[in-house]
């Protein structure tokens, strides 16, 4: 199959389109403004710029923030809940937490209004026995009432449905007979895992997103098809895998971190192609710095996240740690005389002082501007004519320099030093918390601002090199084209290993494999191979936190052979020892959940097709004064994309391209590798 593969990432400001021509491996990128409120305009516009005939497209993969935005802005559908008698308030009561530790302020409104949360007689106990049969007449009455109240979507949330879904399944069937659309979510279908708040929240948020996200995706698919598109349309999930558009419409909650996940997938692939298996990525945007870690080519997954206070989504998702230190983060001096960066941010609107759009408090970007690291005559992104260096300097004087007794340049350097230290702290914490030494990793900055801080990250954390991808501004769109197709499944088992019913566990595994393979089979994409992995969440009896225990499981022609108790005990001991460094004598081993992942590996394209020529002229386009430490340096400015493979440039130097500025500090050098990436490392002694 040959044609065009297209990745589309819709961000807050720009829609990025990455087009791969499968016939010759060539690639092009387009950046168009994101359209609002309907993002499909920019989406189609971007594709249209690069491809005339949509019938040539074999696959479109989309990283979307439609779901995230609907959650953050509370713009999902009016949603109803039908739940177990006595438990209508679980969504509102959360796990008895609070928004902030100190101050005791703030309240919380769940996405489902209390009026739209109705109880029905039914009860299943923790052992799966049914204490009260579900009253289906009450269920139907509740569904009709919710419809009458104007609900578009509904979630069925029954206690202990993970242990035995019978009551919930019967209720769902009754509701689906009545409900006029497909927006019916059931907790045992979405997340058959113990812990009612997390399961109810994930299910309710799924229902809340269904009308919005499925509507958006259907509009996109229809528009593509009416222009002649006949390929497959897929969506990136939070776990970094892709899913078909039908699955995404059914499980929109799995798109919560779609866009950022695609970026991490791309970063991992770019680094691996360039010879680096261990990577820490740093995506620096206007308000935040997002860090993620890839070890031996594997992205790290976390089990759940809170989109906002009280809005918990439990699904495997690529672990991304965010701190409030972006280009727009505001520098300020507290009453005790300490310099702070963020968390308040000027964002991209009004943005840094230098943008001249109304903010008068200095930001990280303003410090970069004052020190000459950002070219005031050619702002990236192309929205502004020029940057106001003087205004940025005045703001730094007034809000930092005068309060600390520092000159303008000293104050600007101080802002960067504190910002860099916080970013480095995030990198350290992300790696150390997982037991990794950050010095064994390379750092990959992407997003608009990351490459300005790469040298500082190396110096602060002790990382040996940074790798700046050739197109750091379209990393997420590239990731869409690379991502594999993946489905995750979970089932709570909750048993001691000694009491495990191996056949029952095998049956759950088989069911996950069958469902996963059916989804891969229904896809029109070709896969190089399939991968199936199983993990058990296990702990000693009495311990709360479980450790993930990977299982090696035999499969023959898609038939799973259940692991034995001895296999499981041994796998647990290995995993537990690796985590805690010791085992517990006479500890009783317990299995909580089974987690399965079914992955279809998509063919990868060769990144050398993005590389520049191997020969060419290396000459600076200009010389500019840039401030480092205590002095101004004459700094050579290069057009980055025209630098041939193999070029080595000693710092201080700045490489420019339309969407990014790459800074090579004194004592560092930059090297263009065979893929067009820039490798930044300390200068070698000559």
């Amino acid at each position: 199959m040959t044609g065009r593969m297209i990745g589309v990432d819709v961000g807050g400001t720009f829609t990025d389109v990455f087009v791969l021509n499968e016939a010759d491996g060539s690639a092009t990128v387009a950046k168009v403004p994101t359209t609002r409120p309907d993002q499909s305009g920019g989406f189609l516009d971007g594709i249209g710029r690069e491809v005339d005939d949509l019938s040539e497209i074999s696959v479109v993969v989309h990283g979307t923030t439609a779901g995230t935005n609907a959650l953050l802005e509370r713009k999902g559908a009016r949603t109803g809940v039908i739940c177990t008698e006595g438990l209508r308030d679980v969504l509102e009561m959360r796990r008895r937490d609070r928004p902030r530790t100190w101050g005791l302020r703030g309240d919380f409104e769940p996405v489902v209004d209390r009026r739209d949360r109705l109880e029905v007689p039914e009860r299943t106990l923790a052992d799966g026995s049914i204490r009260t049969q579900v009253d289906l007449d009450s269920v139907r009455r509740a569904a009709k009432q919710l419809l009458k109240q104007g609900c578009e979507a509904v979630a069925i949330l029954f206690a202990n449905a993970y242990a035995n879904p019978e009551n919930e399944v019967a209720a769902v069937a009754a509701v689906r007979e009545i409900w006029p659309n497909p927006h019916v979510s059931a907790s045992s279908e979405i997340l058959p895992e113990i812990r009612e708040f997390e399961r109810f929240s994930t299910t309710a948020l799924n229902a809340y997103l269904q009308p919005e996200v499925s509507g958006y995706l259907t509009r996109l698919e229809n528009a593509l098809q009416s222009d002649g598109f006949d390929g497959e349309f897929m969506i990136v999930q939070s776990n970094g895998g892709v899913m078909g558009v039908n699955t995404a419409s059914r499980l929109p909650v799995r798109t919560a971190l779609s866009g950022p996940a695609a970026g991490v997938i791309a970063a991992g692939y770019i680094a691996q192609s360039a010879g680096f298996d261990n990577v820490i990525t740093g995506d620096m945007g206007g308000t935040s710095f997002d860090v993620s870690l890839i070890s031996k080519g594997q992205t790290m997954l976390s089990a759940q996240t809170s989109i906002d206070f009280g809005m918990v989504v439990r699904n495997p998702m690529i672990e991304i740690t965010t701190i409030g230190a972006g280009g727009g983060s505001i520098a300020w001096v507290d009453k005790g005389g300490l310099l702070n960066i963020g968390p308040e941010s000027a964002g991209s609107n009004p943005g840094p002082v230098a943008y001249g759009m109304g903010n008068d408090r200095p930001t990280v970007t303003d410090a970069n501007v004052v020190l000459g690291r950002i070219d005031p005559e050619n702002p990236i992104g192309g929205k502004l004519e020029r940057l106001d260096v003087e205004a940025a300097g005045n703001a730094i004087d007034a809000h930092v320099g005068e309060l600390l007794g520092l000159s303008r340049l000293e104050a600007a350097e101080a802002i960067l030093r504190v910002a860099n230290s916080r970013m480095a702290g995030a990198i350290r914490l992300v790696s150390i918390e997982r037991g990794f030494d950050p010095k064994r990793f390379v750092f990959m900055p992407f997003g608009g601002g990351g490459a300005l801080h790469a040298g500082a990250m190396l110096a602060e954390v002790g990382i040996s090199r940074a790798i700046v991808p050739r197109f750091p501004g379209v990393t997420s769109a590239l990731g869409c084209v690379i991502a594999d197709m993946r489905q995750d499944f979970v089932q709570t088992v909750n048993t001691l290993v000694t009491q495990l019913d191996e056949a029952a566990l095998g049956a759950f595994m088989q069911e996950h494999v069958d469902q996963g393979m059916a989804l891969l089979g229904a896809s029109r994409t070709s896969f190089e191979r399939h991968e199936i992995s199983f993990e058990l969440d296990m702990a000693y009896l009495g311990q709360t936190h479980t450790v993930p225990v990977p299982l090696t499981v035999t499969q023959t022609n898609g038939t799973v052979t259940a692991p034995s108790k001895a296999d499981i005990e041994q796998a647990f001991d290995t995993a537990y020892h690796a985590t805690y460094g010791r085992l517990l004598n006479n500890g009783v081993r317990r299995i909580m959940n089974l987690r399965s992942a079914v992955t279809g590996k998509r063919p990868k394209f060769d990144l050398t097709s993005l590389a520049p020529e191997t020969e060419g002229v290396v000459a600076p386009s200009a010389i500019r004064k840039v401030h480092f430490g205590h002095a101004w340096y004459d700094t050579a400015i290069y057009d980055r994309l025209s630098l041939p493979v193999g070029t080595a440039i000693k710092g201080p130097a700045i490489l420019t391209q339309p969407d990014t500025t790459v800074l090579i500090e004194p004592d560092f050098q930059g090297r263009v590798d065979a893929f067009g990436n820039t490798i930044i490392e300390p200068q070698k002694e000559d």
């Binding site: 009453k335 310099l339 702290g425």
Partner: protein, 564 residues
């Protein structure tokens, strides 16, 4: 000591906070017992080599420990000074609450940190162990009249000398708990956290000179003091009083008074608790360190942006009358300290509300509600379901109070009912918000909760409750109304009953199929009820959070004209 440049200071402040945070994370991950692993009832920090004052403390531990840990370190400093044998690699351990504050469940480990043969600072770890002996599993004994009925008492002793752990101490510890495996897991976790702290300090001091770091620590304390003074200067001068009461001490059914006079003068503040009740028979006494630490917790809630170090307390004087329940002597029981310190926080807020109502929130639900249900299964295996329950937070100038929040002294989350039902023979008939529990106001309080728990075990079970706010409601501020009081009832053959001491009871026998019901307080309201918008009232009524009758009664009937 040389003055440190402000930039290095900012950088070092972040680095040292991170060390404490990493120590927290290490214990949370390794701990066996859910009170540490899930509820984060633990804390870590760096403390002054000479005074024991808090230098830096982790962000994720329990708020109350932010103030109290330095007392544990001070106790070790005194002990080491009198023995004259402090050495690198030593680790002290103790749980004595009269010396270190809080209660006997909190096991404290203190380790001197040496650099180039010289004491640089102390590292400390505290964690709430699941069981430390005593008369009641889990150590909440409402009938205790001496600490000895609450738990075994360990004074500061050396768990390790020059890096060699003394197994004798571990043997003593493990023989004095009903859950030795859990205790061993927690102890290992705390030792691991201290090891990590030492490694991180080594790395930090390799990178920055010890003198630079010392200068930074001193400077951070000084700056915290400056911040506190500047906050106080923003407030009006004056003297404001507030009082509130505990229901009883669990032994004698008489209310206990907590009295406060708050005085602000320029950049100084005095919290004078003179007039508070005498030391009492039951376990709601607290030791002096706990009282001072609680004042700090209350202040940090009023000024949330202040850093967590001792400099904050320098402009503040805390006056605690001798012989009062706020400075109880050994061996007075202190196991129910949570209730007393919650009331202290309430009176601080109430007094502050008179000085600057917009700076504080109205009273939160004000009780930890430690409820245990315990029994034996058919196979003879004992079981104990022990948990704390949530209630409403107070309204503020910004918004209504939070429904079903955690206690101001804690950040603990509640276990999901499915986890409890899977582990114990119980079923929650109800786990819901409690209508009409919120204090009325322009911004009403948050709602409390109703939990109704049925015993499924055929052998039945016994219930124990250590709660408060059964006789005195959480107060509103700035003319806001009070929240509803705590109500505990239990089912017997002849109907629902309430215990004589209202919020405290022990050994209630429940048969299979019988239940207990805990209705927790809502938060107090902020501002006069008649200034609440009709739309907000009508919406609350439509949602069933406030009944028609109560709305009419506290807000008037204008809301009836509004369509929600």
């Amino acid at each position: 000591m040389s003055e440190i440049d402000p930039i290095t200071l900012s950088v070092l402040a972040g680095r040292m906070e991170q060390i404490a945070d990493e120590m927290d994370a290490t214990l949370f991950r390794a701990a066996f017992n859910p009170i540490i692993a899930e509820a984060h009832d633990a804390s870590h920090g760096l403390y002054s080599a000479t005074t024991g004052d808090t230098l830096v403390q982790g962000k994720s531990g329990l708020p109350i420990f932010v103030g109290v840990m330095s007392f544990a370190v001070k106790a070790v400093i005194e002990k080491a000074a009198s023995d004259g044998d402090l050495e690198d690699g030593d680790i002290y351990i103790f749980n004595d609450a009269h010396i270190g504050g809080t209660h006997l469940s909190d096991m404290r480990l203190v380790r001197p940190y040496f650099r180039n043969g010289k004491l640089f600072c102390f590292l400390a770890s505290v964690g709430h162990w699941h069981d430390v002996g005593g008369a009641v599993p889990g150590n909440y004994n409402p009938a205790a009249t001496e600490v000895f009925q609450e738990a075994f008492v360990m004074p500061p002793v050396k768990l390790a000398r020059k890096g060699a752990v003394n197994q004798d101490i571990i043997d003593i510890l493990l023989r004095n708990t009903r859950l030795p495996q859990s205790a061993m897991g927690d102890l290992n976790g705390q030792l691991g956290a201290l090891d990590l702290g030492v490694r991180r300090m080594d790395e930090l001091l390799d990178e920055y000179e010890a003198e630079t770091v010392s200068a930074a620590l001193e400077s951070l304390s000084n700056r915290a003091e400056v911040l506190m003074r500047s906050e106080l200067q923003d407030l009006p001068d004056g003297r404001w009083e507030a009082e509130d009461f505990l229901d009883n001490d669990g032994i004698i059914d008489a209310p206990l008074r907590i009295n406060l006079a708050l005085e602000i003068k320029g950049d100084r503040m005095v919290l004078d608790f003179t007039g508070s009740s005498q030391q009492c028979a039951g376990p709601v006494n607290i030791a002096l360190p706990t009282t001072v630490a609680t004042a700090y917790v209350a202040i940090k809630h009023v000024f949330p942006s202040l850093p967590a170090n001792a400099g904050v307390m320098r402009p503040i004087e805390v006056i605690v009358p001798e012989d009062s329940l706020l400075s109880a002597d050994f061996p007075a029981p202190t196991g129910g300290y949570t209730e007393t310190i919650l009331r202290m926080i309430d009176v601080v807020f109430s007094a502050f509300a008179k000085a600057a109502p917009d700076r504080v929130v109205a009273n939160a639900y004000g009780t930890i509600n430690a409820l245990s249900i315990a029994g034996k299964r058919s196979n003879g295996q004992p079981w104990v379901m022990f948990s704390f329950y949530g209630g409403g937070h107070g309204g503020s100038v910004e918004s209504d109070g939070l429904n079903h929040g955690n206690a101001p002294i804690s950040t603990a989350t509640i276990p999901p009912l499915e986890i409890l039902e899977a582990a114990y023979p119980v079923m929650f008939r109800k786990w819901a918000l409690r209508p009409d529990s919120a204090g009325a106001g322009a911004h009403r309080g948050g709602l409390g909760a109703v939990y109704e728990i049925e015993v499924l075990e055929e052998n039945g079970a016994e219930a124990f409750l250590f709660g408060e706010r059964g006789k005195f409601p959480p107060k509103g501020i700035a003319q806001g109304g009070n929240g509803a009081m705590n109500v505990f009832t239990y089912e017997q053959d002849d109907g629902w009953k309430a215990p004589p001491l209202v919020s405290k009871t022990r050994g209630i026998k429940l048969k299979q199929g019988q239940a207990v019901r805990l209705e927790t307080p809502g938060g107090g309201g902020y501002g006069a009820a008649n200034s609440r918008s009709s739309e907000a009232i009508a919406r609350d009524v439509a949602r069933g959070l406030v009944s028609d009758e109560r709305a009419d009664q506290v807000y008037g009937t204008a809301w009836r004209e509004v369509t929600p």
